[in-house]
């Protein structure tokens, strides 16, 4: 996942449309929609030791994996659970508090071009559009590092100079198989970046 900065004087909406037009010019076909959302939980104060700030946990969903629910800690492990993990979180209210205002999500269109899957999304937090996410996946390849150059070339073809650098998850992966969790980690990092920046950037995944 990467982000594309919105050009001055243009809205998020206009930039998304521009990217979509470039993808379609390449020959990419629309294939429905997608959505990724992320809720933030604080560990309840009672659990945290005195003076230590509570850890943050992110609970995320991805429409690509409707039966799964991802729980991530910043820099920490990524847990993949069944979708009814949400009900469990409700029961754990005493320990984890949902920071409702921090809910952030990205929704948009799925495109297919040959064996590539592109998900172009608008990142919204509350009522406002905060940025753009671009997820690019090369499905035939299971080792992310192997096809990075290939992905770069593809992203350059429609994102131009805004092509993102190599995501940090790639560095730690070496030759192991890419998993859905890796995608979610990238979305989490992207969402955190967008939250901090306040201003409208645009984002990209493997």
């Amino acid at each position: 996942v990467g982000t594309v900065p919105v050009a001055e004087g243009k809205s998020v909406q206009q930039t998304v449309e521009l990217l979509a037009r470039r993808l379609e010019a390449l020959g990419a076909e629309k294939q429905g929609t997608f959505g990724v959302d992320c809720e933030t939980y604080h560990t309840a104060a009672t659990l945290g030791t005195q003076g230590q700030t509570g850890k943050l946990m992110y609970v995320m969903h991805n429409s690509e994996y409707p039966l799964s629910c991802f729980a991530l800690f910043e820099n920490g492990p990524c847990l993949v659970a069944d979708a009814n993990f949400d009900t469990l979180m409700v029961k754990l209210k005493g320990f984890f508090q949902n920071a409702k205002a921090n809910k952030i999500e990205s929704r948009g269109t799925r495109y297919q071009y040959c064996d590539f899957l592109v998900k172009l999304g608008t990142v919204t937090m509350g009522p406002s559009a905060r940025g753009i996410s671009v997820e690019v996946e090369y499905c035939p390849c299971v080792i992310a590092n192997d096809c990075w150059n290939l992905l770069m070339e593809f992203m350059q073809s429609f994102m131009g100079s805004h092509t993102p650098g190599i995501p940090s998850v790639f560095g730690s992966k070496h030759d192991s198989t890419y998993s859905p969790g890796d995608t979610m980690v990238q979305y989490m990092e992207l969402f955190n970046k967008i939250r901090k920046q306040q201003q409208v950037p645009v984002a990209g995944i493997r």
């Binding site: 299971v142 192997d146 096809c147 290939l150 070339e153 198989t177």
Partner: protein
Amino acid sequence: MADGALSPGVNLEAFSQAIAAIQALRSSVTRVFDCLKDGMRNKETLEGREKGFVAAFQESLHSVSRDLGELERLSNLVGKPSENHPLHNSGLLSLDPVQDKTPLYSQLLQAYKWSNKLQYHAGLASGLLNQQSLKRSANQMGVSAKRRPKAQPTTLVLPPQYVDDVISRIDRMFPEMSIQLSRPNGTSAMLLVTLGKVLKVIVVMRSLFIDRTIVKGYSENVYTEDGKLDIWSKSNYQVFQKVTDHATTALLHYQLPQMPDVVVRSFMTWLRSYIKLFQAPCQRCGKFLQDGLPPTWRDFRTLEAFHDTCRQ
């Protein structure tokens, strides 16, 4: 059926006389044995008995040799059956009145023409193929050609043990490639080749000849629901469909009927170059992608990566 009017070489009268002569010969021979069987019976004196027996025996032997002589004479008169017919005995088929109902004779002629043509074209093809022998392993060829100057062409019936040996030797040759051999349908082997974490290849063998290959992604399922290797369905990804096409081309390129083991080894060496399928840029245009596909072609000789449209 096939005599008389249509075969002037046969003398009908002599023919029927000859048959009669054969009957005469048989009856005279029978009389000889009857005489021997009866022995010296019904005579008063021993001398009389011996005399009578010898006379009877002599007489019957004479009639045998007389009948035999007659038969030989007649057989020369009968003449030979229509040996000058251009199609020999099959020509007789055309004379069969049944032929009006069954198209046997015309079918026979058709088949003969076809087999002639086939032989001609096969001759041409074999000439061409011999010029185009396995280029890449030319050195190895020289060596093994000396070792086995004339391998028998019946390589279709190699023992399974030998096939196993060749495959396991290739398996050991390439550490990043694993080959699983199975024989679900009798003697023909099926291989599942896994190349790194890039792709899987199903190879259907007939003895040591590769009949069919299907390339699929590393993450794709290669088994059918009942747990057998799925040799029919193709990959879901365009890139592996393309590689499957190229692999089929490679099968046609690597041909050396006398040394099937060299062919299999060359094919596997070529296949191994796909370990960098997603990492190698095209050697001609320097790019990774063309029409959304990586360089799927590997040169048969140099193993360099090219896009399908950038090759040669």
